[in-house]
């Protein structure tokens, strides 16, 4: 009963897990991340309290989305911006295209945004003869390679400096062994031109701020600032869960996001945008739109126990902490959001039956829960998704039968010791040799269980 999506995941992940070059690059990059984060976290007096507070604010937001989203809308409109509500990918794409057509846009610049990945904006625009240029360096690199982002924060994490130097050498004739500085300068030179030519800038947002009607964008390269202020029109497309009640909450979320995303105390550029250019102002777009995207988020909101998946601020800490992610890599998941957070939200946003395997693709080590800056109990969410999948009858028939048998046997001691070790090993070999794979031997079951040995010894002791 495995879906094709699940089978694709199993084969892609198995292949990647033994790709030693991949392992080397990821370990190197995540080691660097780990060092930076452990340093960055020292800035907190009481990290645990900060995380708890961040969790409870997000809890309040999700319980009050029906009031806070209209509050954001009203305030953003007061600032001169326009709000568009999109239920799904098709609506979001259509609304964007309508704006682009009206201003006769031929080229747009984009800053990094996972939501635009979610609605496959680049491909959609290309099909409509509009050129979309990624301006975040990592995104630019994966776009040049024709790949999807490997990671929600660091899209080119799977590439080494040598890989990127080779790519730039082929595309732009930079030296074969160019340094990171040389490569960045080359990208900067190429991208500067694009900002001047682009008709529209499209971005995501890290936060929607209800009380001021603003969006906040966090970035390290300044490319989002250029994308939002050079073109005449700015469209921000944002998931509805990105809401925070007040601009004052940023003093908590900005450092939490920076620390857990990259290890920085604060990300280099944090911009609050509250509508288009006003009279007398010299900078900024003439029109600004915020598209509020649902696309399955309210399905997750409807799950009372699992809705905390919506608290996520997309810092990527759980991906970096996850031994599964490190082994299989971001691309194997076949989803926009990879790693632990992707595994808990995708089954609700895109369908439990097709994506339940992601909630099973975890050894439940709990490291994700430990590192989450908004204290999402990710491990628990994985377990709840598994429970729901069983409840819905999505688990394979043989597994349902297996667990019923397990329960029957495990509540009767006599049944456990009914067969001796020889038989048990025979059954184990018969049913599990293939599933156990070629890299491990099956563990041998003892001839006589401890319980039985203990009983026999007791009997002996008594007869003496």
């Amino acid at each position: 009963m495995s879906t094709k999506t699940a089978l694709d995941f199993v084969s892609a992940s198995e292949h990647k897990a033994f790709d030693l070059q991949h392992r080397k690059v990821i370990n190197f990059n995540i080691d660097r991340y780990d060092n930076a984060v452990s340093n960055g976290l020292k800035q907190w007096n009481n990290l645990e309290n900060a995380k708890r507070k961040a969790h409870s604010i997000k809890w309040r937001v999700m319980e009050n989305l029906d009031k806070l989203l209209p509050e954001f809308e009203a305030n953003f409109q007061k600032n001169g911006g326009k709000v568009i509500w999109a239920n799904d990918t098709v609506e979001a794409q259509r609304e964007i295209l309508t704006i682009l057509r009206r201003v006769q846009a031929k080229k747009i610049v984009k800053s990094k945004s996972m939501v635009t990945e979610e609605i496959e904006l680049n491909a959609f625009l290309e099909n409509n003869q509009i050129q979309s240029v990624e301006t975040d360096l990592g995104e630019y690199i994966v776009q040049l390679l024709g790949q999807k982002p490997y990671h929600i924060v660091t899209p080119a994490m799977h590439l080494s400096l040598a890989d990127i130097a080779k790519l730039f050498h082929e595309k732009f004739d930079t030296p074969e062994n160019a340094t990171a500085e040389q490569l960045t300068l080359k990208a900067r030179e190429l991208l500067r031109e694009e900002y001047l030519l682009a008709d529209v800038g499209i971005t995501g947002a890290n936060f929607l701020i209800a009380d001021t009607g603003s969006i906040a964008i966090t970035e390290n390269e300044g490319n989002a600032r250029l994308s939002t202020s050079f073109p005449k029109v700015h469209i921000a497309i944002v998931g509805i869960e990105k809401l925070i009640p007040s601009i004052n909450d940023l003093d908590l979320y900005w450092p939490l996001l920076a620390n857990h995303g990259t290890g920085q105390r604060l990300t280099v550029y944090n911009t609050i945008l509250s509508g288009p250019k006003r009279e007398g102002e010299s900078d900024g777009p003439e029109e600004m739109y915020v598209i509020l995207l649902d696309n399955g988020r309210t399905d997750l909101l409807a799950q009372k126990e699992q809705r905390q998946g919506l608290y996520c601020i997309r810092c990527g800490a759980c991906l970096n902490a996850c031994p599964i992610y490190k082994n299989v890599g971001g691309h194997s998941y076949g989803t926009t959001y990879s790693g632990p957070i992707g595994s808990i939200i995708t089954p609700h946003m895109k369908g439990l039956q097709e994506f339940k395997h992601l909630s099973y693709a975890s050894s439940l080590c709990g490291k994700c829960t430990e590192v989450c800056p908004v204290k999402i109990d990710i491990q628990k969410m994985l377990l709840l998704n598994r429970r729901d999948s069983v409840k819905e009858g999505f688990s394979p028939q043989v597994e349902q039968w297996g667990w019923k048998t397990f329960a029957k046997v495990a509540i009767k001691r006599n049944w456990i010791d009914f067969f001796n070790g020889k038989w048990k090993n025979f059954f184990l070999k018969k049913f599990f040799t293939k599933a156990w794979g070629s890299k491990r031997t099956l563990p041998p079951i003892a001839q006589t269980s401890f319980s039985k040995q203990w009983k026999e010894q007791e009997k002996k002791d008594k007869t003496y």
Partner: protein, 242 residues
């Protein structure tokens, strides 16, 4: 002090020696060990697989088997963590709510019990060689056990304890995960064993037989010069004729 021993199903079936050694160590620590041979399993395998009704059936039996226990000791952080944490999902506000709460506060993982309850860390054990300690996920993150096993191992004569890279990273077992995703699971075992070998270790020691089962399965297949060993087996080793 009277303690009730909980021997998890896989130790009962695969490693009876580890169970006997747990008993020996507890007795040497001065405990009177009670073992109810009717016990089976805590229900964790079914719970983790999403089969909560089945887990509840098995968990109910567990609660009955240990109904009068004041101290329950288990050579497994995984099962201890299951009872301490996941039983909240299965039994909160059920008919056995109070019984469950009482058992949750009585159960202890072996090293936690030895170091924090009876406050003993030397049992006369000897083991010659160099070892790494693998933090099992359930010990570290479910039971908050980190220093206790290290303290016990530091008191084993002849044993040199060194730290390996990623010592607190999962070994890749994860119950059904090990068969549903054998590729990823095996790759994780490979890295764990490689990290131990990089330290020239003779032993990988842990609190949890499930991790060790997994690592030994990889070691055996690859024929590597290292051995996975349960903490209880280390603590009961080399007593001579004492």
């Amino acid at each position: 002090m009277q303690v009730d021993l909980f021997i998890p199903c896989f130790i009962d079936q695969l490693y009876p020696t580890t169970a006997f050694n747990t008993m020996k160590v507890l007795e040497k620590a001065g405990c009177k060990v009670n073992y109810n041979p009717e016990q089976t399993c805590c229900g964790q395998p079914a719970y983790n697989a999403g089969f909560w009704d089945e887990a509840k059936l098995v968990g109910n039996k567990f609660l009955d088997d240990f109904v009068d226990a004041k101290y329950i000791v288990s050579p497994s952080a995984s099962c201890t963590g299951m009872v301490k944490n996941a039983y909240n999902d299965l039994f909160t506000n059920s008919m056995v709510h109070n019984q469950c709460r009482s058992i949750q506060s009585s159960i202890h993982e072996l090293s936690d019990f030895l170091v924090n309850i009876i406050k003993k860390d030397y049992f006369g054990a000897e083991l010659e060689g160099r070892a790494v300690y693998h933090d099992s996920c359930s010990a570290l993150r479910e039971c908050r056990i980190k220093e206790e096993p290290r303290q016990l191992l530091a008191n084993v004569d002849g044993l040199e304890l060194v730290a390996m890279r990623d010592q607190d990273t999962c070994c890749g077992f994860g119950g059904t995960f090990a068969v549903k995703f054998q590729g990823i699971s095996s790759a994780m075992a490979e890295q764990k064993v490689n990290n131990a070998l990089a330290m020239d270790a003779n032993y990988i020691i842990s609190t949890d037989a499930s991790c060790l089962l997994h690592l030994q399965a990889y070691i055996d297949k690859q024929n590597l010069p290292i051995k996975a060993m349960h903490l209880a087996d280390v603590l009961a080793n080399g007593w001579g004729n004492v």
